[in-house]
Amino acid sequence: MSGYVEGIIILLFINGIAAMGVSLLTGFTGVFTLGHAGYMAIGAYTAAIMTVRFGIHWLPAIVAGGIIAMVLAYLIGVPTLRLMGDYYAIASIGLGESIRLVLENWQSFTRGARGYPGIDNYTTLTVAAAFFVVMAALMFYLIRSNFGRAFKACRDDYIAASLLGFNTARYRVLSLSISAFYCGVAGALMAGFLTFIQPVMFDLNKSTELTAVVVFGGLGSLSGSLIGTAVITLVTELFRPISQYRMLIYGAVMVIIMVARPEGIMGQHELGPRFIKSLFKRNNGPSKAVEGSDGL
């Protein structure tokens, strides 16, 4: 495999992990976020500082990146997740930007906006793939369990959910924490991939991209989120030779996918025999037919 392709695949794995996290929160729990790049930043800096400054092995450092992001998300989530819909979304812009701001200003620890160079190149294809496979398996399992149903209940109708005995606030915070863990790990892997990180890498554009791939993969479809990640990455790579028109196409693809398939590439189905069967049933499954109340 050429290094170029390998680089893209590693990036796909990393972004895929982050997208799964956002997918859990936005697609399955119905909490719309525009700030998750902030948690990637936390993961990246934790891993970078642990490996470079304290000489800790990269494996615990990556896990620690995820955990610190998770703890922070929990602390942030408890008060803020009481906000609903666009209100949380806008607040999350603020939260993500605030994380970045702290990293930029805390120069003694993070070296500020100038970035953190000299990180070990520990994210090899094998490492990225291993993390991806394990975390994807866990996430696919999780959504097909009692927790998965609870998240979806909170998404679809939080009043009904609480009347089925779910502590919806708790599940929202839990979902946020898990998603932050995923983003944290993705960030830590990113640090080892690029060997250099800068707060500006984790800006609003990055957050937006994470949410965008989840939405047009299909809200409530994990495989959809991964396909969305692949599509976006491939679009930007394939069109690289036409350099400056690339972002124009990127934006247009985003619009066209939403217009052509507002429910996202996968709707809320998972890639599998059932989905493939439904493709041949002349109609695009039950999701389209349902009107009425919906998440968010």
Partner: protein, 248 residues
């Protein structure tokens, strides 16, 4: 009575209507005529396609086949165009505008009417019909009780001063006494010249009120005829009117 009607041109005719949702065929080749001055009801069990029929007439769901004529002319286009022709619908499930007040909801109903004096008169009439709405004029519709919302939905449809009034399960969630009031009032407005097409689960009441009735089953027409005849048809009685058991 219906013989005389038959000689006139129908106000509304639905011919060979087909509607489906994805793979589900909700209405398959339904026919129906409503003559001026009539009250016509459509009865049928859950999921028979009655609401779909109403929505298809209003241009609120896509018709896959067939035709709808109003006064002999094709009734096409989107719902807002259909409304201006003098048809209004009180939809199933009430669909009141939750963040608007009761008064504002009623004024939305009067949207196609440009005559201010007429709107005022109608408003007064609706308020008399449902005194509860007058009491709750300034309350947000979303916080009304279920029955109050139903009154509002009917009132809102009346505010459009339609020539043809479509009602989708008007009695849903209403107290017995209110149902009686409403049915009495429907009779009265019908006598004033408003033609009514009604979908009801409360088939007995509906047939008692109507001139003619249609029975719908899995999207198809299974029987039509004079309301009184349907009321006494044993099959209908068995299937839609309960077994005739009464509570006292």
């Amino acid at each position: 009575m219906s013989d005389i009607l038959q000689q006139q041109q129908p106000l509304l005719s639905v011919m060979d209507l087909h509607v489906s949702y994805g793979a589900i065929k909700a209405v398959r080749g339904f026919n129906l005529d409503v003559y001026p001055g009539e009250i016509v009801c459509v009865i049928g069990s859950n999921g028979a396609g009655k609401s779909t029929l109403m929505n298809a007439i209003m241009g609120n769901v896509k018709r896959q086949g067939g035709q709808v004529l109003f006064e002999g002319k094709p009734l096409d286009g989107q719902s807002f165009q259909i409304v201006t022709k003098g048809i209004s619908l009180a939809p199933e499930g009430r669909k009141v505008f939750a963040p608007l007040t009761v008064y504002e909801n009623l004024m939305m109903g009067a949207f196609p009417v440009n005559d201010k004096a007429k709107v005022k008169k109608d408003l007064e009439w609706v308020y008399t019909l449902f005194p509860r709405l007058r009491e709750r004029m300034a309350q947000y519709a979303g916080t009304l009780s279920g029955g109050e919302q139903q009154m509002l939905a009917i009132g809102r449809a009346l505010m459009a001063s339609p020539r043809l009034l479509l009602l989708d399960e008007p009695s849903l969630g209403l107290a017995p006494i209110i149902i009686k009031d409403i049915f009495r009032e429907l009779k009265r407005i019908n006598e004033e010249g408003v033609t009514i097409l009604l979908v009801e689960q409360n088939a007995r009441q509906a047939l008692l009120l109507s001139h003619r009735g249609y029975v719908m089953q899995t999207g198809q027409l299974v029987m039509e005829g004079d309301a009184k005849e349907l009321l006494h048809n044993p099959d209908i009685q068995a299937a839609y009117l309960g077994t005739g058991k009464k509570t006292h």
